[in-house]
Symmetry: C2
Subunit: 345 residues, 2 copies
Amino acid sequence: MAQRSGPDYRHKLTLRDVSEASGVSEMTVSRVLRNSGDVSEKTRAKVLEVARTLGYVPNKIAGALASNRVNLVGVIIPSLSNMVFPEVLMGISRVLDETPLQPVVGVTGYEPEKEEQVIFEMLSWRPSGLIVAGLEHTDAAKAMMRNAGVPIVEIMDVDGEPVDACVGISHERAGRETAREILARGYRKIGFLGTKMPLDHRARKRFEGFSSVLKDEGLSIVAEEYYSGGSALAKGREMTQAILAKAPDLDFLYFSNDMIGAGGLLYCLEIGIDVPGQLGLAGFNGVDLIDGLPRRLATLDSCRAEIGARAAELIAAAETTPKDASPQRIEISPIFAPGDTVRPK
Amino acid sequence: MAQRSGPDYRHKLTLRDVSEASGVSEMTVSRVLRNSGDVSEKTRAKVLEVARTLGYVPNKIAGALASNRVNLVGVIIPSLSNMVFPEVLMGISRVLDETPLQPVVGVTGYEPEKEEQVIFEMLSWRPSGLIVAGLEHTDAAKAMMRNAGVPIVEIMDVDGEPVDACVGISHERAGRETAREILARGYRKIGFLGTKMPLDHRARKRFEGFSSVLKDEGLSIVAEEYYSGGSALAKGREMTQAILAKAPDLDFLYFSNDMIGAGGLLYCLEIGIDVPGQLGLAGFNGVDLIDGLPRRLATLDSCRAEIGARAAELIAAAETTPKDASPQRIEISPIFAPGDTVRPK
DNA sequence: GTGAAAGCGCTAACAC
DNA sequence: GTGTTAGCGCTTTCAC
């Protein structure tokens, strides 16, 4: 079999190799490869040609150490199995793609100790900034971030004290707003369905906001149902069946996310419940799956991609600007989308 | 407000700072921090104590340069918006979590040039290995990978020539197997619904395998429908409506993924089509959403998490073992899951 | 068990 | 426009 000729990357080539092969100093080669400083067109062309034929791949590790510039942004999220976080990543990527910065992802599994560890690992790469989901962290993690000397953006949530900047929605308010919309539409016997996750602070805050509005009206949640693991759609079905068995006179189900809400919706329609007349439904997140359901599920958008993008912009801006800007606190305020699963007001 | 006392990370601390503060040489501090070599328990305790109080965070950039060990694994995937790829990442993370290796993700948007660029960027970090989705790459990308001097694992697909190792399923075979199952169940007028993506080689291979079996039986695909962007569930609905309008006598719809299949299923049930009697449906991927649908959609599992895990194992193994092992070619063979949307044989 | 010296492959800073 | 020098913060190697 004929061996295609081409660059040979096998020997770990260094700048020195390119320098020798082109008869130009290492420094000039470095300048060409970074498009920095003035280099004559002739030299530049020669160097590029030699680098390409040799198959030279610069060593960013060495470059980063020498220049003290790493151009990495640490992104720390609790999970990848929940589509919400990949969507945040997309927002981040979209913005960072226009810059020299590159995201590096760490996953915590919703565990504070694991998060602390991931933050430590990230910081040991000396990144240009950190984007971390949530406002709740161990004291050690907060201390590390506070003293990291790089911009830290906590995302998804604004209910609390950020270490530095934050971008997100208020989940407390999201819960309250949903409750108000539901009550305004005349529903009174309300059930709640959520995840069995004490460390999902955002879900908890929505629940608290939601409950507090009910309480103000002299109401309370009539029944609850929780799940963990498995297909959220299937769990939504099962939980809906279970909660309606326990409390058949419910007139509303508030789901802590759209996927279980979708499962609940499919179940209700199948067994012939009149949605939204007899039973209203609402979820949370605003996932695009909703568009394909038999009815549009009522929901509140969690603005994932936008949050990711705004956070990335803050980090990118800190790279360019003198770092005297005061920490930002950006709250995005989504509005309730009633869809077809709540009665009109 | 009282300032909580604690480690001060502000001044970029170095080994030297820890060394001076503990009265131990930099070398010994380094040994303690890496658990390498023999250090007396007394010294070790003192160093750890000092490092912690100071809030020292080691600089991995410098460590990597000096030791020539980076412990990063580049993972290159086409997209994050398709849940398939985050699931691959989960399989990879699960395995790498047990090792010192850490995944770094790059996204190509299904563009070969972007992929080439991402591969170059990844290699410039001198990673311990690369996991790349697919077997199709530009010549330059293949050359870089061939000469990278680290293990390269191409994943998701085994229909072609890998640069080094590969782990995946045969999409050609997946298409053929699905076609055989469909024909064996008596369906004959078959429509195909897919994505408008010439660069999704795996979808193309499934289509080709599928078509070839039909052809062997003197049949062919009666109607086709394609989409791009938007909510896959909603697109599945729309396309199903459209294809049935064009070809009302179809008795089977083969969807190139489960999400559009699910949309199609919901649509068919809503308008009262007898599934699977009058019309059979099948998708591809085996997503867990299927469990929550009114009927279980027939599908073929693409084994995403397992593929990720196996690929990560190959990289991890290459780290420990002398690198003489011949390149592996691991084919996973999923079996057709008929669910409830095809007739019994 | 501990330390001293010599780099890893680049780039900042300055000289020419 | 180009070259020289001196590190970046660690780890390797070898001496003690």
